[in-house]
Symmetry: C2
Subunit: 213 residues, 2 copies
């Protein structure tokens, strides 16, 4: 028997959306419980004691167990699962599997801390409300985000998907914050290979948009 | 036939050491080619065209293919491999495998950017030589690093290893920069459960020290 899957999330977070998109592409049912991070709903004693002592989302609940870290949650869903076409999101080949993880670690190290953070600051916190320490980081994060997009664009210039000949978790995970990067002040039209790839991901069977209910 | 493994590295980097330690615990032979990042040896036209267009190390070379990102390289080595005792570094259980990845993503997101960066700045660049923009980040990185160590210490207070009942890649990867965190100005004696765990890792059969030739 498959254990029930519950996603503890803020629907505006790209890290949460990755997990919903992975589940949708694999046809896995996923219950959703929403929290408003701007109102501190992941810092309540109840959340900290039951869901995640570190006060962060997303958390994927599998039966009675809890898994933080968005990319680990996507891996869990895809590990051993198959999509509607009988093809999974984790490559069978050992080197390709490691290459997929390479782009997943790139996303958490070089992409998310720049692009997702700027989107959060500019779209949800508001530039006028930033602390001086945050304001001082804007230029650095802008440069880091542009460099991440440049590397992605260069990689995609000669291929359709990040790894091998098919979509994998690397594409799903990088799609989440890339497709909304303009809210962080990035101009996606500067990166034509990325734009073409975003369209390929959005055309996948089972695709769901970030704001889908 | 197993393909030849070559590690392109700077031996002072914890991200490179992770890969050496993983290979050593699994008994895998690994050739080493050294670069001095402080002298820009990973930014030469030759390095950029042949090893990694992004100018970063470590890069694991597998035959004629190149794999950047330290944690992806460790995964590649451990995927399907067994140590001397017949036990591998990736758990067999699906949920435990995802939990291992959870700590590997934690390491790249919450640990390395704080603890490894402060070590690099204070030990190799020197506080007097930091750019003003770097100096402004010290307090933030100090707080982020202490929080990462606090979470690790809390997790290890009730168990010997990060995941399940045995050592996994999560331990190897977190060991790399934790055991030298004092060079970044952190006091490990504040974290007794971490200290006990560091001793357990260092006692593993096949363990090699960071400065081993």
């Amino acid at each position: 028997m498959r254990e029930e899957l519950v996603l503890h999330e803020d629907p505006r977070s790209g890290n949460c959306y990755k997990i919903r998109l992975t589940a949708a592409l694999l046809g896995l049912p996923l219950q959703r419980i929403d929290y408003d991070i701007l109102r501190g709903e992941t810092r309540t004693p109840d959340f900290l004691s039951k869901i995640n002592a570190h006060g962060r989302i997303p958390v994927l609940q599998v039966g009675t167990r809890f898994l933080p870290e968005s990319n680990a949650a996507c891996w869990y869903l895809a590990d051993g699962a198959e999509g509607a076409d009988g093809v999974g999101l984790i490559p069978e080949d050992r080197f390709a599997r490691a290459e997929m993880l390479r782009w997943m670690f790139f996303e958490q190290y070089s992409h998310e801390p720049n692009i997702a953070t700027l989107r959060f600051w500019l779209l949800y916190v508001g530039e006028a409300n930033l602390a001086p320490q945050q304001r001082e980081q804007i230029l650095m994060k802008r440069a880091g985000g542009e460099e991440a997009l440049r590397q992605m664009n260069e990689h995609l210039a000669t291929r359709d998907w990040f790894v091998g000949e098919a979509v994998s978790l690397a594409d799903i995970i990088l799609f989440a914050y890339t497709h909304v990067a303009e809210a962080g002040g990035f101009r996606l039209s500067d990166y034509p290979a990325i734009c073409a790839w975003l369209h390929r991901v959005a055309a996948l069977p089972g695709f769901v948009a970030m704001d889908a209910p």
